[in-house]
């Protein structure tokens, strides 16, 4: 259920408008990407090629005046291709570190499931720990650091599906979906001359983004809401169709996302509505269905939605 987002906060609104000038439709994905950006989380975009995943990330990075890097994952990609490598400099007689694409501010990890687990994990380590280890040296990543990974759910041949433990590191998993016919027409119209991405100007600086991230983290979460989050998450562990439930990291992720979502709506406190709206995006990639549920055609989203119908919303002030 796409909710009406107010995006009342000036800078956030500008960011949203900027992205929308390139992306036709896709308000929800745009909003949620901003949520992940402000919550200091990362996004996994899962959809077929050609629906605008890369375009979204590029526009986003252009809108925020910061360094954009792109890694195209292939089966022969090595971890050092991601993190960077030390090269011997004969002039100085020293090894010099040449940073890889991971050391940007906004990183697009395209087709992440095409590379070997070894390379995947080097990316994921960076995402979680905010630093990478190269040749025994720990290198801090830049701030802000935002990864948008994409994967294609259709082609399985020659892919290495991300294990559950690594999916856990993405704050949100989003689907792009196809545009509606009208949107597609509009898109064609827009592209016919010059691609709009070339006209995109930055609307905020890195510093401003960090400032917004910090403010989003200050949004108040009532103990009532915290209990609600915990109830929802623990219900995934108890659900008869769940093989593996959501870890406590999921609870934290849900709360962080809810804070950012409340923030972009210019609210200084979280509503149950925020939690309820975000839960499918935050939780569904963190749980595994059991084989019966899979056989019945159930999806993780269905399971989360089922739980959201059942867990009671706190509607009274804690005394």
């Amino acid at each position: 259920m796409p909710q009406q987002t107010y995006l009342a906060h000036g800078k956030v609104h500008d960011l949203f408008a900027n992205i929308q000038s390139v992306m036709i439709g896709k308000e929800e994905v745009t909003t949620l990407s901003i949520v992940a950006l402000l919550a200091k989380g990362h996004v996994l975009l899962e959809d077929v090629p050609g629906v605008g995943k890369t375009m979204l990330v590029r526009t986003l990075s252009k809108s925020v005046d910061c360094e954009f890097r792109r890694i195209q994952f292939t089966p022969d990609l090595l971890p050092s291709d991601v993190t960077g490598v030390s090269i011997y400099n004969p002039k100085t007689l020293e090894f010099e570190f040449r940073p890889g694409p991971l050391l940007g501010n906004i990183v697009l990890a395209d087709e992440i499931n095409r590379t070997s687990p070894k390379t995947q994990s080097s990316l994921l380590e960076g995402m979680e720990e905010s630093h990478v280890t190269v040749d025994g040296n720990t290198i801090e990543l830049k701030r802000p650091f935002f990864v948008m990974a994409t994967q294609n759910p259709i082609e399985y041949e020659g892919t290495y599906p991300l294990p559950e433990a690594q999916l856990d590191r993405f704050l949100l998993k989003l689907n792009m979906g196809y545009p509606s016919a009208a949107e597609e027409m509009q898109m064609l119209d827009l592209i016919s001359n010059d691609h709009p991405i070339n006209r995109v100007q930055a609307v905020m600086t890195k510093e401003e983004l960090i400032e917004l991230q910090n403010r989003a983290a200050e949004v108040y979460v009532d103990p009532n809401i915290q209990r609600y989050i915990v109830n929802v998450v623990s219900e995934t562990r108890r659900h008869p169709s769940a093989y593996l439930g959501v870890s406590p990291r999921g609870s934290i992720a849900l709360m962080k996302a809810a804070k950012a979502y409340a923030f972009i709506q210019d609210r200084d406190f979280v509503l149950p509505d925020d939690v309820k709206y975000l839960a499918p995006f935050v939780l569904s990639h963190r749980l595994i269905l059991n084989s019966e549920a899979k056989f019945e055609g159930m999806t993780s989203e269905d399971l989360v939605n089922d739980i959201l119908q059942k867990v009671s919303i706190p509607v009274r002030k804690e005394k």
């Binding site: 108040y220 009532d222 009532n224 809401i225 200084d268 406190f269 979280v270 509503l271 149950p272 509505d273 309820k276 959201l308 119908q309 059942k310 867990v311 009671s312 919303i313 706190p314 509607v315 009274r316 002030k317």
Partner: protein, 738 residues
């Protein structure tokens, strides 16, 4: 019932809860045989248990309703109907009863409803209660309301009636704790959607619950407790009422026969406890004693007279009538009730002989009229005896012609009046008898005086005279409302004021005829005399006739026999008198039937024992319960309207965070009751508000919710404009409740 262990457990739990409901309901029935005239309580309890059981096992209605009906018929048959069960005759009997009672009810003559019909209504009430409690306890799982009602009921009865609620309150508490513990347990389980499985739950819940309840009860029972912190409310309330009335203390007394009449006055409550049964030809005064000295407050005796001891076999001669009085020999049988304690005999006028094998001696006091049976020199109560008596009939002419030459001892003893008697009483007496030419006419004039002039019969709100106030003067001039003591004392005093010797007689009225039996080939009536029949009346002395009873109390008929003799028709004056008498006679006869249901009388002093008692006939009880249930039902039906009014006032008076919160929560509750609107637990307030606003086509719920969210989820919401929302709230609640 069910093989599934979960269901079996649930069934067991429900069974225990419902059983507790029945036990609580039993506490409602227990006091009835004490405070009402309901008998055979056990049968009603068994029927209630039967209904509860049938409600519980939840059979289809076409099975349970006939079962309950048959049960009802069976109970009625056992209690009232002697005919073959469910025969044609049986149905006709019941049908006639019902028809009669419906007529009676339509005519608003509730008191004439027959016991069978009243019992039937009562049984139906039990039936309904079994449903109601099933709903409360099992379906709605709301036990606390009934628990509180029960406790209130027991405490009120304990405080205001003779019912001793000590055991009841302990039982009620025990059962209440158990039932509330269990039902909150099942509620909790349902809320968390945990099935009750296996014995583990018992060990974890039920056993600790029982232990805690028992422990708490034992501690509560055994622990030292403070004395009541409040005074007994009954005297306090009465004091408050009297304070308003300003007429001094008038403790409520229980009606009945008592011996101490030094302080008359005060209200009393009705009591229909049977005292004795009499088999006689007609209604008589059942006389016990007389008193001669009026003190201004009540009656005492100048002397104890000269009792004569004589063997039972001897004839009794009280010497109340001259030989000229016509008499008729009759026999009456008295059977005292088990719980009555009377050392004195009750007897009709003209008593001549008492037949009883138990007593050997009778102590007869012609002055006071007391007859006390003795055995081996000790007085005791005769439980049954036969009285041979010559019932006197008085000729009007004889009475009219009777002279005024009273014997000195009579004149001296029976015209006494206290010096404090206000002059206005004497003046009134003179005024009343101004036109009477003879003593009989004087007596009749005074007797008549009370029938007119605005006197009213009542047992309620009767004051006790203040210090320095005369009992009769208060009645005659101030209140004009009273019962037999007021009327009879006033008549004696008025007669004495004009020099007519009179005395104050006490005993019982004729009672209620309950049966007719055949004794030695003659049909005789059986009368039931209850405490409520205790009475006082007036005896006037006529020199050539003797002591004649008069009945001044309004609404009561004189039991004395008068007749018109036709021997002196030639005398013009006397024939005129005769006509008057004829009229009066007719009046008397007209009055007689009235009194059966209204016999009221004297009183016993019970107020000193702390708290009056009070008895309500069963029909009134049933009507009361129905009315109370109806009111409760209405309150329940309109509870949201009432609550809405309450919250509205509260919120408008004090528009703050807290009151906004309660008002909004109330709104949620009301909306929840709407079938098409109720909020599922997983629905957020915004989603809910959206659906409500869609339904009513408004924006109000959304706005209210917007503010409420800030209250619940925001860190600091104190600076919110809470006072702005009352109108929104009011509009919405009106729409919801309409």
């Amino acid at each position: 019932m069910a093989n599934d262990p979960i269901e079996r457990n649930q069934f067991l739990f429900r069974g225990i809860v419902y059983l507790c409901g029945f036990l609580l309901f039993w506490e409602w029935l227990r006091p009835l045989d004490q405070i009402t005239d309901t008998a055979n309580m056990a049968v009603f309890v068994v029927y209630a248990a039967f209904c509860f059981f049938l409600s519980f096992i939840h059979l289809p209605w076409f099975f349970t309703i006939p079962m309950k009906l048959i049960g009802l018929a069976f109970v009625l048959d056992g209690l009232f109907i002697g005919r073959r069960f469910l025969s044609g005759d049986w149905f006709r009997f019941v049908y006639d009863h019902i028809q009669y009672n419906i007529d009676v009810m339509v005519a608003n003559q509730w008191w004439q409803m027959t016991p069978l019909f009243r019992s039937m209504l009562f049984l139906l009430l039990l039936w309904l209660m079994s449903y109601l409690l099933y709903y409360w306890f099992i379906v709605a799982k709301r036990t606390s309301f009934f628990v509180i009602l029960t406790i209130v009921y027991v405490t009120v009865l304990d405080t205001f009636t003779v019912y001793e609620g000590k055991g009841a309150i302990i039982r009620t508490f025990l059962i209440s704790l158990i039932v509330m513990g269990l039902s909150s347990f099942t509620k909790e389980m349902e809320k968390e959607s945990i099935a009750i499985r296996g014995r583990r739950v018992y060990r974890a819940w039920v056993i600790p619950l029982m232990v805690v309840v028992l422990f708490a009860s034992v501690i509560g029972y055994a622990a030292p407790k403070k004395a009541p912190q409040w005074p007994d409310p009954v005297p306090f309330i009465q004091g408050a009422v009297n304070g308003v009335g300003g007429s001094g203390g008038n403790a409520i007394q229980k009606v009945g026969y008592g011996t101490n009449d030094e302080q008359l006055g005060g209200s009393f409550v009705q009591d229909n406890t049977p005292v004795f049964q009499a088999v006689a030809d007609g209604e008589h005064y059942w006389r016990i004693e007389t008193k001669d000295v009026y003190t201004g407050k009540g009656w005492i005796r100048s002397s104890e007279g000269n009792p004569i001891e004589q063997p039972v076999a001897n004839d009794i001669n009280l010497g109340y009538f001259n030989d000229a009085v016509k008499r008729e020999d009759k026999v009456a049988t008295i059977a005292m009730n088990d719980n009555a304690t009377f050392s004195k005999l009750v007897y009709p006028y003209g008593i001549e002989k008492v037949s009883n094998s138990e007593a050997d001696t009778l102590v007869i006091n012609p002055t006071t009229g007391e007859i006390i049976p003795q055995k081996n020199g000790e007085s005791f109560q005769l439980n049954g005896y036969e009285i041979g008596y010559a019932q006197p009939s008085f000729s009007f002419s004889q009475l009219a012609e009777s002279g005024t030459d009273d014997p000195p001892q009579i004149d001296q003893a029976y015209t006494q009046l206290p010096e404090s008697l206000p002059e206005q009483v004497r003046d009134l007496a003179e005024e009343i008898v101004a036109e009477s030419s003879n003593r009989y006419e004087k007596a009749r004039a005074v007797e008549e005086y009370f029938q007119q002039n605005g006197f009213e019969y009542s047992t309620k709100n009767i004051p006790v005279p203040d210090e320095g106030e005369d009992y009769t003067s208060q009645f005659l001039f101030d209140t004009q409302v009273g019962y037999c003591d007021n009327f009879s004392t006033s008549m004696v005093v008025l007669l004495r004021s004009v020099g007519v010797p009179a005395r104050w007689a006490k005993g019982f009225t004729g009672g209620e005829q309950i049966d007719t039996i055949e004794v030695d080939g003659e049909l005789k009536n059986v009368y039931q005399i209850t405490s409520g029949n205790a009475h006082s009346w007036v005896e006037v002395y006529f020199p050539d006739v003797g002591w004649v009873a008069f009945e001044p109390t309004k609404g009561f008929g004189n039991h004395t026999d008068f007749y018109i003799d036709d021997t002196e028709e030639d005398d013009e004056e006397s024939s005129e008198v005769d006509e008057n008498l004829q009229e009066q006679l007719e009046q008397n006869q007209e009055q007689t039937p009235e009194m059966d249901e209204q016999d009221m009388a004297g009183k016993t002093d019970e107020s000193s024992g702390g708290g009056g008692s009070f008895t309500v006939p069963t029909w009134l009880w049933i009507v009361l319960v129905i009315v109370v249930l109806a009111i409760l039902g209405l309150v329940y039906r309109y509870r949201y309207h009432l609550l809405a009014m309450y919250y509205r006032r509260k919120y408008i008076q004090n528009p703050g965070q807290h009151n906004y919160e309660t008002a909004y929560e109330f709104l949620l509750k009301v909306l929840d009751k709407k079938e098409d609107l109720n909020r599922s637990s997983g629905q957020t307030l915004q989603e809910f508000a959206h659906s409500v606003d869609d339904h009513y086509r408004t924006q109000e719920m959304g706005q209210l919710t917007y503010h409420y969210e800030r209250l619940v989820y925001q860190k600091d919401s104190s600076k919110h404009p809470w006072d702005k929302m009352s109108e929104l709230w009011e509009n919405l609640i009106k729409k919801t409740l309409s």
